[in-house]
Symmetry: C2
Subunit: 385 residues, 2 copies
Amino acid sequence: MRDIAIIGIGMIKFGELWEKSLRDIAVEAALNCMKDAGTDRIDSITIGCMSGGLFNGQEHLTSLLPDYLGRHTTPAVRVESACASGGMAVRSAFMEVASGMSDYVLALGVEKMTDVSENIETYTLATTADGDYEAFHGINLPGLYALMAKAHMEKYGTTRNQLAEVAVKNHRNGALNPHSQFPMEITVDTVLRSALVADPLRLFDCSPITDGAAAVLITTVEEAKKIGKQPLVIISGIGVASDTIALCQRKDILKFEAVELAGQRALKMAGKTINDINFAEVHDSYTIAEIMVIEALGIVKEGQGGVATANGITSLNGKFPINPSGGLKSKGHPIGATGVAQICEAVLQLRGQAGKRQIKNAKTALTQNMGGSGGSCVIHILEAK
Amino acid sequence: MRDIAIIGIGMIKFGELWEKSLRDIAVEAALNCMKDAGTDRIDSITIGCMSGGLFNGQEHLTSLLPDYLGRHTTPAVRVESACASGGMAVRSAFMEVASGMSDYVLALGVEKMTDVSENIETYTLATTADGDYEAFHGINLPGLYALMAKAHMEKYGTTRNQLAEVAVKNHRNGALNPHSQFPMEITVDTVLRSALVADPLRLFDCSPITDGAAAVLITTVEEAKKIGKQPLVIISGIGVASDTIALCQRKDILKFEAVELAGQRALKMAGKTINDINFAEVHDSYTIAEIMVIEALGIVKEGQGGVATANGITSLNGKFPINPSGGLKSKGHPIGATGVAQICEAVLQLRGQAGKRQIKNAKTALTQNMGGSGGSCVIHILEAK
């Protein structure tokens, strides 16, 4: 297997981008990435997008996006794994270069979610749950995460305030990120006074509906050394796992088995343990999700995610910073772009270019991106060399 | 790059399978494939499906399908490139094994198209065209192919009867295929008397709406030799290319540039020319498509696809058999499954297991799978060793 490096990243400011189309924002992120990389060589493109079909009436982005990037004839593949589509696009790009099939592959994540009505948005997000045994009966994603939150509070004594602390911390970080959709600080009170979505989850426990795109350019370490940018950022490990799609099929709804397994697989491939990781970008689609993810990854003990967050362990200057970018909560969650944007943030931190939210001596990062209520997960380990 | 073999294939009978669900047919094809391979080892799954979202209200097949296959925790990725999704799933599986990331990867194509009304079916297929500049204005896929057919007739003198001969030939082959949706022979008259869909294309010029699934199991040649099945079927070349998504953007609407380029790339990788190929499975979504595809691949000269078909060049016992399976026209076109099913047919032929439709001395095959009106294309070269 050839060794792989990331030589370019491209973000756009996330938000409700009514004046731009899906093709516009994808091209904008791709151009930013090529500018950052200092090369316009792209042999092939992997596209992370969850549902161009339901959100935009547009499948076949493999033809549309190379075309609008001025690169028709370039091979492209779209990959989807619900909210983990972006991370999967980076993994597909990694394997394409690692196999020797292509040398320069652009992983491009995009989702344009605000062009449809709210009920279509909610319906589309619920297509990541089990269509026959969950969504058909009316439960949606906030409802599924609310069940987990209730059970976590009951079993481990996690409090309503501890859930809120996840959002407070992520907004504090996101306020330092120029690409954030909601770059404002909030308090526990902001969360507690916000509208109830699915008890106990309130509006500020949930990641927003977002338009956005993000891109990374991947090549071999050998090629990257020729370009000569310092530090060299490599992908040293990738892990993927699935779990049952329906929550009711799981042995324990408080364990993200896919996250645990994907984490073990990625760390094993990189030859690391979780203690070697300096910080992580994780999938805080809901506040309870971040709590359960840091438990599944072994960053904190089972049931301790809420307490650890309230104690500042996961803050920017804490022992194990989580979501320095602001996470899905503050930066926004344009589904197919999210996993790519996590990797953009990790690269920025590893390069020491993260400005006011820079983590000191960041050498090794983990990014965790998951689909639905945890039915799929993809994890990357990145290192500055 | 590790050398790659196909050690198992699994088909189901295509049709309007109202008594089965998407998850049922996908699992059925996967189990047939494992049985054929004689192993149940699957390290990872690639899923070809165009639009579980629009057809079934179900995204996130990466969680659903491993789960229903009794393999939750297994990594999975869904890939999409409109009607070329199946071929792209095989390519992704190829690269995953070639890179060394996994050793046994199941490429599983599936589409369940008949659970929605006809207007949703037509809408969904039109999402493979340019949403802003084509579909929004009312043109759909039959309309786009009708434009190509009209222009081909005008420029090259292709006749209405020659178009029909493609359907007649493919139904003749499909009548010999136990997995065909429409395994009956037809005549030119059947085509000419069928309902007009988009002038000059009639019902029998168009591939049907189909439920179906197909699977292939991919591993290294080294592993395949241990299993020891004869002959060994290898994938020696893969080519992918994109074209402009909108027909109006092309220099020449009678040239499938993506097909031409993907063919050149695949043949180059395999170290072959088109004259080394014994037969091909091609994307006859419409009769005019097969005519233009065999021209783009260099099997016949520019403009000669219709004449060549009428002259029997592409018949089962002709000089260059095309679509021995019956093609999309007779076998059916369950979108995400189609590209995988083409490869199943190629493997059957290369193994000498194609029964009454067996091509003599078939050693080298080409499969051509494309998206939309030719906006993307993936081509595989397979060889019996």
